[in-house]
Point group: C2
Chain length 278, copies 2
């Protein structure tokens, strides 16, 4: 950690009564920042606001969040800013929301060694060994703090010397990676699972969809089955930190970096520079 703040004050701890600890009752954003500038901050804050609405947590003041993220982003040339919003201290013992809880803002700055272009080191992935739960409608796509399935999945990926595992539900639909969203090219179309089936609907996922639209590519948000993987012409993992990471191998099958990689990457980079967040 380069630095951390709770509710705007330098801090290294939170109260034992925080509902984020007890129940994972909160949300988070992982924001990449370079040269003091948080990327896609508007997108991160918009998703956070949607998550707050889903969990009935009052959305903290946006101007304050922007100032706190900017403070963290300024600590090094490249920073990952983790922004956590919990429902705050419990007002009574037990699961129920009592009402009147005061949301807590936690901002942590991590050193970030921004890697080389991921196109030079495509990702090795495979299907995860175990199915994940289909997220209930109220929580689908929400970047909440209940992340045990991802913890177990990414640990499996490390054990298998993979960069990522593709998570499937028990109906053999692929919902994405443990820390990434998934894009495929199949039949000349760029396909990604619908936001409502994603464990997290990524900010970078939205940027890639917008970039594809600007480039006039055929795009579809629809379910991806395990069988679809055998017809893939190109594929990417996406998140705010890795950007657009081409997949170079799905289990034993090699994949070339698709011709759409460079134009999509260029669009996303321009958006990162061009969007006026401050």
């Amino acid at each position: 950690m380069l630095g951390a703040w709770v509710d705007g004050r330098v801090a290294s701890s939170i109260g034992l009564d925080d509902r984020g600890l007890h129940y994972g009752d909160g949300l988070f954003e992982t924001i990449a920042a370079s040269a003091g500038r948080p990327r896609f901050l508007a997108g991160h804050l918009a998703r956070l606001a949607r998550g707050c609405a889903a969990l009935s947590i009052p959305m903290p003041d946006e101007a304050r969040l922007r100032a706190e993220v900017a403070q963290a982003a300024a600590l090094a040339p490249h920073v990952i800013v983790k922004l956590i919003v919990t429902r705050g201290a419990a007002r009574a013992r037990g699961y129920a929301i009592e009402g009147g809880e005061a949301p807590r803002r936690i901002v942590i700055a991590y050193a970030w060694l921004e890697g080389p272009d991921h196109a030079a080191a495509p990702a090795r992935v495979a299907r995860a060994e175990r199915p994940v739960a289909r997220p209930p409608a109220a929580l689908a796509g929400v970047k909440h703090l209940n992340r045990l399935e991802q913890v177990l999945a990414l640990t499996e990926a490390r054990r298998r010397a993979l960069d990522e595992v593709l998570l499937c539900t028990d109906d053999d639909r692929i919902v994405g990676g443990s820390m990434t969203n998934l894009f495929l090219v199949t039949g000349g179309e760029l396909v990604t699972p619908p936001a409502a089936s994603c464990l997290v609907a990524g900010v970078m996922r939205g940027e890639v969809l917008r970039a594809a639209a600007r480039l006039g590519l055929a795009v579809a948000e629809r379910a991806i089955s395990v069988a679809d993987l055998s017809r893939v012409e190109g594929a990417w993992l996406t998140n705010a930190r890795v950007g657009l990471w081409p997949i170079g191998a799905i289990a034993d099958r090699s994949l070339a970096v698709h011709a759409w990689h460079s134009p999509l990457q260029r669009q996303v980079r321009q958006a990162a520079l061009g969007v006026q967040d401050a």
Copy 2:
């Protein structure tokens, strides 16, 4: 809170780098204690050990846990002791377990106003408005810290002026309540959903199954469908705090307290007194 300890020392906070906060990466037990004596402590510690195994968290030393729970239980005549074990401080940013994390023990004592006999105030329940996710096999029954579905469900119960909601998966199977396990009598048989389908396999659930066996009742652990509710002859909610709580109404349908209530209750109380945990 009457008192709280982290790793055996009086504390009121934990580090911002704790994986329990970031991912819900940990487990908990809610232990009822009277006259300084934690009830069913062996059962709680056995379940905690199973949860630690499921999450690959090293189980903390049992003698130390017993001493810390006993210290908390001694703070008042009736205490709820919450024992949380997290994977501890993160060794790097990101979901993956790095290995070598040091589990953290959090013990919190809460004042407990042990209510009157719940048989005098049977529970009002109804089916929850939204389905819950079927837990993945690796996490089924494990009392981990990912509890957002329960938070939303119990909050719904409060809003509807119910004591509890019955949670169903999308295949219309009832997995239990938000904070309780469910027992029904139907066709002269005591039925409860299998542990593998429970969100939490309760310590009290195990005690009730053992009590029923001692009484020679016909018992089955099998799926309960929504349709089964119309054939119910008696029903209970169970957990370590409320014990055996008869259900008095499922939605609009009233239910009498079943004849098995008193003998089951007596068995469970005797077990609470008789088990030598210390």
